[in-house]
Symmetry: C2
Subunit: 475 residues, 2 copies
Amino acid sequence: MAQQGFLYETVADNIARRIGSGVMQPGDKMPSLRAMSTELGISISTVMQAYGLLESRGLIETLPQSGHYVRHSTARPLELPAITSPDMERTNVPGNRMLHDFLHSAANPEHVQLGCAAPSLDFLPVKRMASILGRCVREQTEAAMQYQFPPGLPELRRQIAARSLKWMGELSSRDILITSGGMDALNLTLQALTKPGDTVAVESPTFFGLLQVLEHHGLRALELPTSPQTGMDLRALEEAASVRRIRAVLTIPCFSNPLGSLMPDQSKQKLLELAAKHDFMVLEDDIYGELQYSGRRPTPIKAWDTEGRVVLCSSFSKSLAPGLRIGWIAAGQSLLGEMEQLQFNTTIGAPSIQQLALADFLASGAYDAHLRRFRRTLRDCMERCSLSVREHFPRGTRLTRPSGGYVLWVELPGGANAIRLFQAAMAEGISIAPGPIFTSQARYGNCIRLNCALRWTDEVEGAIQRLGQLAREQG
Amino acid sequence: MAQQGFLYETVADNIARRIGSGVMQPGDKMPSLRAMSTELGISISTVMQAYGLLESRGLIETLPQSGHYVRHSTARPLELPAITSPDMERTNVPGNRMLHDFLHSAANPEHVQLGCAAPSLDFLPVKRMASILGRCVREQTEAAMQYQFPPGLPELRRQIAARSLKWMGELSSRDILITSGGMDALNLTLQALTKPGDTVAVESPTFFGLLQVLEHHGLRALELPTSPQTGMDLRALEEAASVRRIRAVLTIPCFSNPLGSLMPDQSKQKLLELAAKHDFMVLEDDIYGELQYSGRRPTPIKAWDTEGRVVLCSSFSKSLAPGLRIGWIAAGQSLLGEMEQLQFNTTIGAPSIQQLALADFLASGAYDAHLRRFRRTLRDCMERCSLSVREHFPRGTRLTRPSGGYVLWVELPGGANAIRLFQAAMAEGISIAPGPIFTSQARYGNCIRLNCALRWTDEVEGAIQRLGQLAREQG
């Protein structure tokens, strides 16, 4: 049940699942308002709101003087991509020219940004943040202009630690180090945990930034088979760990990027057992963890960590504002001390103004209010994009079905070539992320990642349609 | 001649030099206002202003009904420290526990901050910056909240490049990469220029942060003899380069930290000849380069760089506001491209808000106006601190005489122990920087660095007096 949503949303979610699972078939007539009201024991007006929402999401349609029907185009959800099967020989992450081209396309404000995994600013409380930033520089000018040395602003660390209550965590401000965004957090952690030449296991495909960070520190990426639903394949991890030394597992368990998979709680505990048995650390990237579409936020692996084996990293770039450049690390005292020193050696500390403003924003409760709205918005965005892909992409296309975050992974059929598609799309002002940048191997050449956190406009729908056409032309 | 100061300041500087050099002796009666006016061909009121300034700097005093006299305490400037003679075997920079204690003391707002090399915020245009920051987040909210991908905000790069005109440089915005402060700039540059195990030559003593960065990247520091007046000893560098491979020279030629030395222009050109002959790169840290006490800003080595051998790094932390965390790198295109990629892998990019505000601030001309005031303030601070050290420290103390920046290097006589002095001072709420953190060798145990960019108060004067007492007790 949705924890903080309205009843009609919960009802709509339930019905959407029935449609998604095929219990309700395309063209099926929906129960009348009265029948549904009786069946579920809710008011007719709530059913009306739920049907309205389903219609706005494109799942059902109203035929005049007839009633509501399950839409045809939604009939058969696209098949999920299969569990991946990367080469499990450890590899040195190569430099990636493709990535360079992608980053330039992703930074182009003229392009329809299905490429960069960043939300439309329309969805973010930028006015509110701007006003708080303005007040902070005015009222706390000295603190804003002076260094904030590691571990960072005490009040911000306290606010971040307090958020762990949402998953029954017990972090205190002493457990937190503020960083210059999420990449800085991952860099500092890997430097503290590893030495060049060490092996680090990751999902495959995984966020290209993680692979770059591994390369940066002379580490070997061990890519593991990964399910688009349940994430990293722990049997494969166990097999690998029993024949070679794995120093750390770097995972995005809650809404991984790019697959959007969510590791079940049992698997999270299993991963910790493996960590103890084979003596590796777990670096948990939780950057999408608060962006679930319904219910409670999924529990981080850190929640079950009794031995100090998990370093939890996150940032506010995906959920609040990319430009803030504020992230954080939660870890044990001795690791944290080491990372403070490393931070001093690389950036001195995170920017002061943003720390002050963020502490204020979190204390005001505005972040949670924003997240409630943002999650609903993202769910709608994802449904619209998914429907559009189903409608416009060639037969045989496979598509992920994330329950959080804002990226879709599209596996194209047959002879499709993601790099050629990327280039053709870029030439038409559409930015997408080609599959090959999400691996250090020669893989995912028929896959693309789409950022769906965009206001739904004719331009966006047109871009997805055009991508489908381009893909067809390759087929 | 002071480029942008007033005539009376130039006159006062001239007289101060005569006093400093011993041409005018303690107790000497100064020429009368009229006599000086005639001698120099300037108005009596200008002489009055000059004498007033010299009096406020503690160099001369007025005896009632008698006239102006050279003050006694300024009689004999303290001797300069000798050229250093570090061990020129390359060393691996060790972790430095002392540094850890220093950083905690330097971050303590309760301490008299003679430790951290950061100016009092009283001297910085923090209100103006705060108001510009407020306007930027209000009027350019979207840009403030979105990523600023490498190489950074075009307008800020343009403004920074344009400042090279002050030293006849011809940098364009395409030569500039914006970073998260100066340490980030040095880190990115060293990563692009070196491999672990490479040798990097530095001044000795040098800024502890540079030594930490070298350690961080597995580099070997080759500490070179250094003069408190003319900086790095190039003969020693040449000898070293002829027997071993030096990958890069990391230098602070314009007002080095901690010695405050200024490399003469001829030496800068000589250094470039050596770089060509022995095929090494020069990493030039120019963070204090605009903080000269009189005349034009000294010319960076980069000005003579025709072969792309110099990477120029700087930041606004020392001259505008430490908390901004904005620095920059000027280098050739292919190096810059490599560093952009490295930056993406570590911090994605520098914080957006500060880039917008800084571009605005630079464009308004406010930075140059601030620098003009700030330089005069720093000169006064340094003179006051120097006088106070002369007055209160034990006989035999040696002291640097920088012509820019804001740190003094104090060499204590006899059995003085800088670490014990640091600890004793810290216990009394006075933060200083002990000499041993400025080397990777067991050296400078009788030296301390003092930050002088503080508003002159009884508390500050009392702290220097107390340091002198503590040093005497050790002698």
